[in-house]
């Protein structure tokens, strides 16, 4: 498996390796350092027992993250398939539509969504205009999940579309020629071939969903997710030690989830996020 790489190739990788060392490895080491020390810098495990009473928040975050990941998958999968079967021109146009919201900053998008979902917001104004009873949407878990789905769905569509567009139409025709109905074609051909895309899509949606903090504050009202608590320990409390410990535990939890997910993808490089 291991190919010897030439000097030139290694040199080309150097900028990224330096970048990764400074902005990924060093911060990770700092998180580790803060997590296992107290304010004076002495080794301690106190931080871990300090955060034990935040277990509810951790579970709630994972719950909402998982929920929005599943919803993203359910929406994105058929969409990606449909797009991948269109003409190249239509594909380009559809992908532009998918990417379009990402041209706008996440904070702005979330703030706009808040204005749409509010009791006096756009949706309820329309309902009122049509003479329908108002719907309370803002400051609920549903609103937070809606915010996550809205913000992160392109990360699900893109990788799935990528693998789907590489499935040649003749392959599907062959399946049909051999007597496979739609369901069999899907189960035996499309699904296995698209698995790597699904796995990387799940990773790319689940990770930011679980650790989100702005969306939950703006759309959840009096709800705080683990990201909000971490943000407060850093910016409000300046307690880097407890904040780092929470980040570390969150990272480990995400890592475990991802390792499990990668079991599905047969070690395909596409899905090797972790």
């Amino acid at each position: 498996m291991t190919k010897r790489r030439g000097l030139g190739q290694r040199l080309l990788a150097a900028p990224y390796i330096v970048w990764a060392a400074i902005f990924i490895i060093v911060p990770l080491c700092m998180v580790l350092y803060y997590a296992f020390t107290d304010a004076s810098g002495a080794f301690t495990l106190q931080n871990f027992s300090d955060i034990s009473n935040f277990s509810h928040t951790f579970v709630l975050s994972i719950w909402l993250g998982a929920l929005s990941t599943i919803i993203c998958l359910v929406i994105a999968y058929p969409l990606a398939y449909i797009i991948s079967r269109l003409s190249p021109r239509a594909q380009r146009f559809m992908m532009m539509l998918v990417m379009l919201p990402m041209w706008i900053n996440l904070l702005l998008r979330t703030y706009a969504l808040m204005k749409i979902l509010e009791d006096t917001g756009l949706i309820n104004s329309i309902l009122e205009w049509m003479g329908l009873p108002p719907m309370h949407m803002i400051n609920t878990q549903g609103a937070v999940v809606a915010g996550m789905v809205y913000n992160f769905i392109p990360y699900m569509i893109l990788p799935i579309y990528n693998v789907m567009s590489r499935i040649d139409t003749p392959v599907l025709e062959a399946s049909r020629d051999l007597g496979g109905n739609f369901w069999q074609t899907f189960r035996r051909v499309i699904f296995p071939l698209s698995l790597p895309g699904i796995v990387s899509g799940i990773t790319m949606v689940f990770v930011p969903s679980v650790s989100t903090f702005y969306i939950s504050t703006k759309l959840g009202g009096n709800m705080a997710l683990v990201g909000d608590i971490i943000e407060f320990t850093f910016t409000g409390e300046a307690n880097y030690n407890v904040g780092a410990t929470m980040s570390l535990i969150l990272m480990v939890m995400i890592l475990v989830c991802m390792l499990v997910m990668n079991r599905f993808s047969d070690g395909d490089e596409e899905a090797m996020i972790v």
């Binding site: 009473n53 935040f54 509810h56 928040t57 579970v59 709630l60 994972i62 719950w63 998982a66 808040m114 204005k115 509010e118 009791d119 006096t120 917001g121 803002i138 400051n139 504050t217 703006k218 009202g221 009096n222 709800m223 705080a224 909000d228 608590i229 407060f232 320990t233 910016t235 409000g236 409390e237 300046a238 307690n239 499990v260 079991r263 599905f264 047969d266």
Partner: protein, 424 residues
């Protein structure tokens, strides 16, 4: 003219060649470099010419500085969203600031932690414009008055929607606990202000160090949480102005902005707290340790205490100005609003630095308050999902093994056939 620029070029070249040139020459060269003043202020807290025709106070200072001292200066103006962020940036180092404008309790803390420079009031003659009530001991944050010069002040009130809230109730903090307004109440998204309200509701000092009183305030906030629509910072403007929420605590200056910008059909009024404590706050200009240009910093403070800059900023922010007799000025927009300058401040208490112990207690209560219990269903479904995923992993492995076995068998069969073919 030409000769001067020639000389300049020569000087520049000389200074480029480094230390070999004579001292006086390099001095002249550096004098021509514009000075820089790093100002670190709250967001939306100074008129910096965002709207057309409005005066840019920083540009006016640059001009004034040049006229007065004959030197170019550039104000490097950056903003923060709260005291804690500013404090951490200063303590962490890396960024240098010449002027910061923290609130009372943060100044209290920074003095105690030796983070501020003493000011040379000889460089701040306009200090005489500051009203006397800020120089006596009615404010505690800077007891000797050596470290800070007041910038703006204000106090906490209630803003409410007159169509939905009974005006008679809006003079006590208890209205924020009223079941009638469930889901229409906003609270601050920071522990200091939120806890202060709960403490004041119970008649405790806002700076209490009594653990029992903090516990009681915390329990009150827990009881209030189901009634609270949202814990907000700047969203309060949107939510009150559009009628999304009906009642909220806010600073009086912010109320004026909300009232002015409220949507059609939304009527906002202000309720003053009576018979209970409310918070008065003051933000003051300070020079942090490590300041690179203390003289210019003091000149800047001096300029901000002038009526020209002071009135402009007071008009812009809507907060109460500490300048003496500002209400007599014709160019002051809020001259006819006596509530901005209440005569009786006896029931108002400023925040003091709580010290690390009480601070931690408060922060921990706050984090607990913000936590949400999940429902039982959530746990059941999560466990099911985990089981499902584990099941799928095992199934996947089994399928893989079977496939490998089949492939192996097929390969063996194939090689056998090949051998047979060769033999024959």
């Amino acid at each position: 003219m030409k000769r001067v620029s020639l000389l300049l070029c020569l000087l520049l070249i000389l200074s480029l060649f480094g230390g070999c040139s004579a001292g006086t020459q390099t001095d002249t060269a550096t004098d021509l470099q514009p000075e820089v003043l790093n100002v670190y202020n709250w967001g939306v807290y100074m008129e910096i010419g965002e709207e057309d025709q409005s005066l840019d106070v920083n540009a006016a200072f640059e001009q004034w500085y040049k006229q007065t001292y004959g030197r170019e200066i550039t104000v490097n103006y950056t903003t923060y969203e709260n005291n804690e962020v500013m404090y951490q940036k200063l303590v962490a180092g890396g960024a240098e600031y010449d002027i910061v404008i923290p609130s009372d309790y943060m100044i209290d803390r920074m003095i105690k932690e030796d983070l501020l420079e003493k000011l040379d009031f000889a460089n701040i003659p306009n200090y005489q414009n500051i009203d006397d009530q800020f120089k006596d001991d009615s404010w505690q944050y800077d007891p000797t008055g050596e470290y800070s010069v007041p910038y703006m002040w204000g106090y906490l009130v209630l803003v409410y929607n007159t169509d939905h809230v009974d005006a008679a109730k809006v003079n006590k903090w208890d209205v924020l606990w009223d079941e009638t307004y469930k889901g229409k109440i906003l609270m601050f998204n920071n522990p200091r202000d939120t806890f202060a309200i709960a403490l004041a509701k119970n008649g405790f000092s806002l700076n209490t160090t009594d653990a029992g009183e903090w516990e009681e305030a915390y329990q009150d906030l827990v009881a209030q949480k189901p009634l609270v629509q949202s814990y907000v910072t700047d969203e309060i403007f949107d939510k009150m102005q559009n009628g999304e929420a009906y009642i909220a605590p806010c600073y009086y200056g912010d109320f004026l902005v909300m009232q002015e910008e409220a949507a059609d059909g939304v009527n906002l009024e202000c309720g003053f707290i009576q018979g209970q404590t409310t918070n008065k706050y003051l933000d003051a200009m300070c020079v942090p340790k490590g300041c690179q240009n203390k003289f210019a910093a003091e000149a800047y403070i001096n300029f901000m205490c002038s009526y020209e800059a002071g009135v402009t900023n007071a008009n812009y922010t809507g907060y109460s100005s500490p300048l003496k007799n500002i209400t007599d000025r014709e160019d002051y927009d809020y001259a006819d609003l006596p509530s901005l300058y209440p005569a009786d401040t006896g029931h108002m208490e400023e925040y003091r630095y709580l010290g690390p112990g009480v601070q931690t207690v408060m922060d921990n209560y706050w984090k607990n308050l913000k936590q949400n219990e999940g429902s039982v269903w959530m746990y059941i479904i999560l466990v099911l999902v985990v089981l499902l995923v584990v099941g799928a992993v095992i199934y996947n492995k089994q399928v893989q093994k079977r496939r490998e076995r089949l492939q192996k068998a097929a390969r063996e069969k194939f090689s056998l056939q090949e051998k047979m073919a060769k033999k024959s």
